[in-house]
């Protein structure tokens, strides 16, 4: 039994301190995921998620939860889907092309960093999701496999494909803007 599972069990048994520990552990990670996937309603969605978690206490006895992180992730994903259905026809400011240009100009990153971040946003939902869970939320592939209900190998392969696509997008964008791409070292060429 992991620490997180123990904390979750304690929380369900009525321990408020365990809730604080869960929140400290999971909120930044899940919020990062939520922000990267649907930035507009992150605060509301996270609030709804934690309120649902609190309400779980009143539901009485339930089957033990094997992985609280995966369980909460599924809840968050469902909330996101619901929210997406509600705001399907609403147009947000982020949909306008000016916002992406503004990102390149305003942020303090180097040109290459800006290109990488822009390319990341252009990834397809499935590719983006697995990289967000791995890089932004800091989950390992085993945990991601549990969350997405796929095998470890499938998770690893999906992440690998997503990185390849991201690299290709970055190369294309850099070429368009005339920015030089860092070359592979001799050592790396030998290993390939």
């Amino acid at each position: 039994m992991t620490d997180l599972e123990r904390q979750f069990d304690r929380f369900l048994a009525g321990d408020n301190a365990a809730f604080a520990e869960l929140y400290r552990e999971l909120n930044p990670r899940l919020s990062a995921y939520c922000y990267k996937v649907s930035p507009a309603g992150t605060d509301d969605l996270m609030q709804q998620l934690w309120e649902r978690v609190i309400a779980m206490r009143d539901h009485g006895k339930r089957a033990p939860i094997a992985s609280p992180a995966a369980f909460l992730f599924q809840m968050l994903r469902n909330l996101q889907i619901d929210e997406h259905r509600k705001t399907k026809y609403a147009v947000s400011l982020e949909d306008f092309p000016e916002s992406s240009a503004a990102h390149l100009e305003v942020s303090g990153e180097s040109e290459m960093e800006a290109i990488v971040l822009e390319a990341f946003e252009k990834l397809e939902a499935e590719d983006k999701e697995i990289l967000v869970l791995n890089i932004y939320s800091g989950y390992k592939f085993g945990e991601i496999a549990e969350m997405l209900q796929i095998s470890n190998d499938a998770a690893w392969q999906r992440a690998s494909r997503a990185r390849t696509r991201l690299r290709s997008l970055v190369e294309t964008d850099a070429k368009k803007l005339g920015i030089s791409i860092p070359k592979k070292t001799r050592k790396e060429k030998e290993t390939v």
Binding site: P28, K36, E51, D58, E109, Y136, P182
Partner: protein, 154 residues
């Protein structure tokens, strides 16, 4: 430049992730804390109320069962006090209880006609029949149940 593109991408994304994660709170906000407190208090309240209710119900059931099954408790209130039967005077006294003679007298009133055997009295009908209002055309046949009804004036 020793960094490859992949490493560059990874580094950029990890730095962005670190920055992003730092923006999100690690302590529950006021609203969540309040919700948690209400949920905890509500559960405790219901638990204590439930416990009290269960205690009172058990007590009431025990008292009810005792009142029903103990015969002394059940019959004492229903019976009249038994002073005449069990008092010391009646037990020790050998004298028989005084008996009062009861005489039945059947008197016949002279105002009434002489009763003939086999004749049924006509003055007190056994069953009261409701009054039927028949105007003759067969339409307005109604049953009047009001015993004080005296009919139309004409």
């Amino acid at each position: 430049m020793n960094d490859t593109l992949d490493a560059n991408i990874e580094q950029t994304l990890r730095a962005d992730a670190k920055e992003l994660r730092a923006k999100f709170p690690t302590v529950p906000g006021e609203r969540l804390t309040a919700k948690l407190a209400i949920a905890t208090a509500g559960k405790g309240l219901f638990r204590s109320l439930g416990a009290k209710l269960a205690l009172y119900a058990t007590g009431a059931a025990i008292i009810g069962a005792a009142a029903y099954y103990i015969p002394g408790l059940h019959s004492s209130s229903a019976e009249a006090p038994s002073i005449s039967k069990n008092n010391s005077f009646s037990r020790n006294n050998s004298l028989p209880a005084a008996q009062t003679a009861v005489h039945e007298q059947h008197s016949v009133s002279t105002a009434l006609p002489i009763e003939q055997p086999g004749e049924t009295p006509t003055s007190t009908p056994a069953v009261k029949k409701p009054m039927v209002l028949d105007e003759g055309n067969g339409k307005n046949v109604r049953v009047i149940r009001d015993k004080h009804y005296k009919g139309p004036l004409n």
